[in-house]
């Protein structure tokens, strides 16, 4: 094992994994985190904490993840390249590990023009591929990016994102290969609505044998309405949403229920695709629905987590 991550343990034991995304509040309330964490307890293998997603200021992913550690959950701390340079990143990685955080998701980060501080300066000192390599270097070579020795290394299970729905399509799998070569352990994909395109991408992944080198968690977003899906189709960059799904939600008597059904069906179909190691559920501030979906998808009970040390693991 590369880390003390529960997610790594579940995946390496060959279980079909499930992770859930938790969006921290736009406030200093730890209670919001605790409440959302409750939904996930016992129904996912790890809880993924976003890092100021869409560039809107929220409680930091590192602090939110540390609260989850206190609650006995296995957090995946997202870290974007948008807001920190290599100095701050390495420092935060050390701190995160010292707080008992064992998973990191290395992301480029949404451009700040989307968020509530569009006049801010961005960083992008490193990109996500370089960030992956840096974390791996810290973990496996016990060295900082500078080459300096690192006495107690952060033993992180390293994740990254890939988007099969972005362009250029033929290149997406090449970029995944770059991330694998850089040292990534698991991948979360953008939300899958377009199963045909996802299947084509997975075929290319298998052709390169990448599914044997990295665990691929397919992204699933439960949607509450046709309007929400339409918004994603038209306004969110790098999404592919088939029109028939929008029509299905339009016709539904209870769109929320239909949205859950679509999510469950998607999970079941994704599970049939060779090389998909699990699901990453992104309820987009609808975390309360997670237990229902996981149960309906037949993914309960989850493998029991080993007790996660709550602090002082940096030894």
């Amino acid at each position: 094992m590369k880390s003390r991550s529960n997610l790594e343990r579940v995946l390496s034991a060959g279980h079909f994994a499930i992770t859930g995304e938790l969006g921290p509040p736009q406030s200093a309330s730890a209670d919001v985190i605790r409440k959302k964490a409750d939904y996930y307890k016992g129904c996912v293998d790890a809880v993924n904490i976003t890092d100021n997603q869409t560039a809107i200021v929220r409680m930091s992913s590192i602090a939110s993840a540390a609260i989850l550690v206190q609650l006995g959950l296995d957090p995946v701390m997202q870290m974007t390249c948008r807001d920190r340079n290599r100095i701050a990143m390495q420092s935060d990685i050390l701190g995160a590990y010292a707080l008992g955080i064992n998973n990191i998701l290395c992301l480029t980060g949404d451009h700040q023009s989307f968020g509530n501080h569009p006049t801010s300066k961005n960083v992008y000192d490193l990109d996500s591929v370089q960030l992956i390599r840096m974390v791996k270097m810290m973990r496996d070579e016990k060295r900082f990016l500078s080459g300096d020795e690192l006495k107690v290394e952060p033993r992180m299970f390293i994740g990254a994102a890939e988007n099969p729905f972005a362009d250029p399509f033929e290149y997406r799998v090449v970029r995944l290969a770059k991330k694998v070569a850089a040292g990534v352990d698991f991948i979360q994909t953008q939300a899958v609505f377009d199963l045909a395109r996802f299947s084509r991408w997975m075929e290319m992944v298998r052709d390169r044998g990448l599914h044997e080198k990295v665990y691929i968690l397919a992204g699933v977003i439960p949607v509450k309405s046709a309007r929400a899906l339409e918004y994603m189709k038209n306004e969110v960059p790098g999404m592919s949403v088939p029109d028939e799904l929008i029509r299905r939600l339009e016709k539904a008597g209870d769109p929320k229920e239909e949205g859950v059904k679509i999510a469950v069906e998607t999970i079941q179909q994704l599970r049939q695709i060779s090389g998909v190691a699990g699901i990453h559920l992104m309820p987009m501030m609808w975390e309360a629905i997670a237990p229902t979906i996981v149960e309906m998808a037949g993914l309960l009970p989850r493998p029991a987590p080993e007790s996660v040390p709550s602090s002082g693991v940096g030894s």
Partner: protein
């Protein structure tokens, strides 16, 4: 070339408040070509200033001058005989031009009429696009002659990110995804293999992050 754009008249008037005699100085190089601060634009701005201040009952005495390059001492020196006549100099050069005049004439109030935007090219009549960030460590050999530092919104060296769709950047449909362009160009050149290579973290110390930069070449010094 350096591409610049004129500031709004209100902002310029505010910068000149308290002045009674102003010299508007154009530059005959980049900003002439990008139609922001050449002789013609100096004439237009000077007229606008006279009109606006006349209308307000406090007419400003405005003279015009355009020199070959505001960023070179020999041309800036041409302003020496008359600059003492003015209590304000409005430079229509780029940021380098404004500062060259300010540095040359101690005690003279020099203000900028332009916002200096970028190093770029005219893509078509009336449209200029950014091409180079002056990062100090050119990578164009590895990216098919298209710069990801200047032209990718996130200056990614291993792009594109997941926000690239239909050849456009996630920031705006008006921005081409630089990495889509790089991909297409390398495909044309038969060099897609270059995209399999991971580019290492950039040495930003060669960029402005290392502090204000200086180029010293002893072999051409006098």
């Amino acid at each position: 070339m350096i591409v610049a754009e004129r500031k709004g008249l209100e902002e310029i008037l505010a910068m000149l408040s308290g002045c009674s005699r102003v010299l508007v100085v154009g530059c005959g190089t980049c900003v002439t070509v990008c139609m922001a601060g050449g002789e013609k634009e100096v004439g237009v701005l000077a007229s606008l200033l006279r009109l606006a201040t006349g209308r307000d009952g406090k007419p400003l005495d405005v003279d015009e001058a355009t020199i070959e390059r505001q960023c070179e001492w020999e041309f800036v020196d041409e302003l020496a005989p008359k600059i003492g006549l003015y209590d304000g100099v409005l430079s229509m050069g780029c940021g380098a031009g404004v500062q060259t005049i300010a540095q040359r004439f101690e005690g003279v109030r020099v203000v900028p009429a332009l916002n200096t935007k970028f190093i770029g090219i005219p893509e078509k009549q009336g449209m200029w696009v950014e091409m180079c960030l002056g990062c100090g460590d050119c990578v164009l050999d590895r990216t098919g002659g298209i710069c990801p530092i200047a032209r990718c919104s996130k200056n990614l060296l291993n792009g594109p990110c997941g926000g690239s769709q239909g050849g456009k950047c996630e920031v705006s449909k008006d921005i081409d995804c630089a990495w889509q362009l790089i991909h297409d160009r390398l495909a044309t050149l038969g060099r897609l293999d270059l995209l399999e290579k991971e580019l290492a973290p950039k040495d930003w110390s060669k960029n402005r992050d290392g502090g204000p930069r200086k180029v010293v070449r002893e072999e051409v010094m006098l």
